[in-house]
């Protein structure tokens, strides 16, 4: 593999999480999101092979992903309100302003996820793996919508705090 593509691949790997989160949140379909992510990578590799100058690969990938998401919406003719192109632009702007940092945060989060209590893991699986709506989860778990929203929010909050703490502890002492 040429060095240039290898370097892009490394960069893509390092920044793929926020991109995947972006795509998934925009289309709410895991298989579709995977396909789009893969397509973004293919186009990046093709562009690199053609010798195109890509100064900011992260931004470049988000731009491609945005176009693919628009295509996806058009093809699926989704009737549900998930987002519109204005929101798409705002979220793209957010990611451009706050790109995924290569500071061990992902690893810290992965470790924190691994330590989640079973109940919390179950919630995460139902929401993101099975793609259930809060209504669907509420029916399965016999719980109220609000309590589930709150519970998932708590899990996310706890994960972020846990990762912060891990990163803080990992920092060298002054």
């Amino acid at each position: 593999m040429p060095d240039r593509i290898k370097a892009l691949s490394t960069r893509f790997m390092a920044e793929r999480h926020a991109l995947m989160g972006f795509i998934y949140s925009m289309i709410h379909d895991l298989a579709g999101a995977e396909d789009i992510l893969q397509e973004v990578w293919i186009r990046l590799a093709e562009a690199a092979e053609r010798g195109e100058a890509i100064a900011e690969p992260g931004k470049w990938c988000r731009g491609v992903a945005k176009n693919l998401i628009l295509h996806y919406w058009r093809d699926k003719r989704t009737t549900k309100v998930i987002a519109d192109s204005e929101l798409l632009d705002l979220v793209e702007q957010a990611l451009n302003e706050h790109p995924e940092a290569a500071d061990g945060r992902r690893q810290a989060l992965m470790e924190c996820i691994d330590r989640l209590p079973e109940k919390s893991k179950r919630l995460v699986q139902m929401k993101y793996e099975q793609g259930l709506s809060f209504a669907g989860m509420a029916e399965q778990l016999q719980r109220s919508l609000d309590s589930l929203k709150m519970a998932l929010c708590r899990v996310r909050q706890a994960l972020l705090e846990c990762a912060e703490e891990k990163l803080r502890l990992a920092e060298p002492n002054p």
């Binding site: 579709g32 990578w41 549900k80 996310r156």
Partner: protein, 642 residues
């Protein structure tokens, strides 16, 4: 929970209204809002990745617990928390007093409820004692008299059991803080009050049916855990042990060591970590190596193509072993082909149902054959350019195809309709003309295999027969009815051409009828050996390059490795998220044996790197593990639990 957090959750839930969408956009106009959404999306991405990474291991082992999720996180500001900022000291004490009183009342009520629902007599220390920790789907507490819905936290008294109902149901039961039971779908487990012999003193459960993971931690100390199953009794022999008993794989020891006593024969055998229990046709027990892992996802199809009575995936390696092709029954998917290793994404072209790649002996460029709308499409493998379409009857679509090893012909099996006769077409590749049509199967053709010298073509059918055709004359050489009457789902000739392996099974994968693999002697036209071990239909088989090993995939969700000399299974691979009885696991091996490809209900095609060892003059797979993951392989399929 802030308003922005709430709106982001609603956004991901697809329940955002137009007004809420407008509000979300307003909030994202601020720097802090955009920073929050960037963090939120990053977290979502990592969660999605972690779910994939946990996939295979989750099926066997529940995750460790440790991270506390505080109840107060995300909660709207309460009276107590607000007091810190806005209420005076006296009011704070009043709030603390009120909450303390409320807590005390709740404690008293809880204690009363506890004594009303708990057994009045304290439980003897040695008896099984369990508490339901987690439930999902339809779950019940069962006893001889009753079957009542169970609640999380409920205590099981000795003699009571817990039952899950439905494939999506599951339950986790904690016993004496040292034994954890995880029940899969359609499982029934009883605790017991039976007095144990001193040697086996410890916890005990009786598994009536289903899928059970038992984890014993060190705190059980030298006591033993006994699990009675319909086929025998497993007793832990180490302080830290985990065993998985399932319909698909039988008894697998994940951690530690157990002693298993077979009920019908009284035989005992020790099973160590990484081993599973196997048995010969004569009832002799032995252990074999268990492989598991996430594998390398080569591609993920958008839809699963499997059903309960049809082969869902077709796989083929190129002659040089460097290209893999995969097709599925799912109508939305195309055929995919590309490098086995490396970072090039597979190409996709129209095509489904079945796929074949031309042999090395064929002159010219390598060809991929697949089916579409009743026709067979031929593509140039290197470029993906369509070369020809071999026209056929759309009402009798291709079900399987095979290139002859001499590279001159392509055989196409047709007719998957149960009430339609199956036909086999033989196409001349250099002219693109139909050379012959073999008629004689009363049901759709399910499998095809050419002998290595291309002189014989074996065909299997839903009519439960296997026919051997003479390719020179187009005449039937022999016809065998499968006994017992089972469908031949896959066929493979051994490299020396002397043996035809026939993978059999019922025509409905949901039936708990074992799928045998028959090794049929071509010269004597008799069954030389029967390989027994799969618990449901065997759906796919392939020989190792030297013919000493046979690899099979089954609707029981496992891949098994067989020694063709001894007819024993020496290994089992479980690497897909699967649904027993709802899939036809497909396997294929590269010509050099170094790569194994599998495809399953979970929509993924996975590639495993194999290493081999020489034993008793034959080669055996020693390991099967994932090759390096490709950079864009974000997630495997995320469907059902094992």
């Amino acid at each position: 929970m802030t308003r922005l957090e709430e709106l982001l959750l609603l956004w991901q839930d697809q329940t955002l209204t137009e007004d809420q969408l407008a509000e979300l956009k307003r909030l994202l106009a601020s720097d802090s809002g955009r920073a929050k959404v960037a963090e939120d999306l990053f977290l979502t991405g990592v969660l999605l990745e972690s779910l994939q990474a946990q996939g295979a291991s989750r099926a066997l082992l529940a995750g460790r617990e440790g991270l506390a999720v505080p109840e107060e996180a995300c909660a709207p500001p309460t009276l107590a928390t607000r007091s810190v900022f806005g209420i005076g000291a006296m009011q704070r004490w009043r709030v603390i007093g009120l909450t303390s009183t409320a807590a005390a009342v709740l404690l008293i009520l809880g204690t009363i409820l506890w004594f009303r629902t708990s057994p009045t007599e304290p439980l003897p220390a040695a008896t099984a004692f369990a508490q339901v920790e987690q439930v999902q789907g339809e779950t019940f507490v069962v006893s001889k008299e009753n079957k009542l819905p169970v609640q999380e936290g409920q205590v099981l008294t000795p003699g009571e059991g817990i039952a899950t109902q439905g494939v999506d149901s599951e339950a986790v039961v904690q016993m004496e803080n040292s034994v954890r039971l995880k029940l899969g779908g359609d499982t029934t487990v009883f605790t017991t009050t039976e007095t144990e012999a001193p040697r086996a003193a410890g916890a005990k459960v009786v598994l009536e049916q289903g899928d059970l993971l038992v984890e014993v931690t060190r705190s059980l100390k030298r006591k033993r855990m006994t699990v009675e199953t319909p086929i025998g009794v497993a007793v832990t022999e180490s302080e830290d042990a985990a065993l998985h008993i399932s319909d698909a794989a039988g008894v697998v020891v994940v951690r530690g060591e157990i002693n298993f006593t077979h009920r019908p024969t009284g035989q005992s055998i020790r099973v160590k970590a990484g081993q599973y229990l196997a048995g010969t046709q004569q009832g002799e027990l032995y252990t074999s190596q268990f492989f598991s892992g996430p594998g390398q996802v080569w591609t993920t199809f958008p839809r699963s193509g499997v059903g309960v009575n049809s082969l869902g995936y077709s796989l083929a390696f190129s002659a040089d072993g460097e290209t893999l092709a995969a097709a599925t029954r799912a109508s939305e998917s195309g055929v995919r082909f590309g490098p086995v290793d490396g970072e090039e994404y597979p190409q996709e072209r129209p095509g489904r149902l079945c796929v074949g790649l031309s042999p090395a002996s064929m002159p010219g460029a390598a060809i991929l054959a697949t089916a579409d709308q009743g026709n067979v499409l031929l593509y140039e493998l290197a470029t993906g350019k369509q070369l020809a379409a071999l026209k056929g009857d759309r009402r009798s679509p291709p079900t399987c195809l095979a290139f002859s090893p001499d590279g001159k012909t392509l055989a196409v099996g047709r007719g998957n309709l149960r009430d339609a006769a199956g036909v086999v077409e033989v196409w001349q590749l250099d002219t693109g003309t139909l050379r012959a049509t073999y008629r004689g199967h009363a049901g759709g053709v399910t499998a095809l295999a050419f002998s290595p010298d291309s002189k014989l073509l074996a065909t299997g059918s839903l009519d439960k027969t296997v026919v051997l055709w003479d390719t020179a004359t187009g005449q039937e050489r022999t016809r065998s009815l499968m006994v017992p009457a089972l469908v031949a789902w896959s066929l493979a000739f051994a490299p020396d051409g002397n043996t035809l392996a026939i993978a059999t099974g019922p025509d409905d994968f949901r039936l708990r009828q074992p799928g045998d693999i028959k090794l049929w002697d071509v010269a004597t036209e008799t069954v030389r050996a029967t390989l027994r071990g799969h618990r449901r239909a065997a759906t796919s088989i392939v020989f190792s390059p030297d013919g000493k090993s046979l690899i099979s995939g089954s609707a029981d969700t496992t891949v098994r490795f067989w020694d063709t000399g001894t007819s024993r299974e020496y290994g089992m691979l479980k690497g897909h998220q699967a649904a027993p009885g709802f899939e036809a696991l497909a396997v294929t091996l590269s010509p050099d044996g170094k790569r194994l490809a599998t495809a399953s209900f979970d929509r993924t095609v996975k590639v495993w790197k194999t290493t081999w060892t020489q034993i008793d003059g034959g080669s055996r797979i020693l390991t099967a593990q994932a090759a390096q993951n490709m950079p864009w392989r974000y997630s495997g399929a995320l469907l059902t639990k094992q």
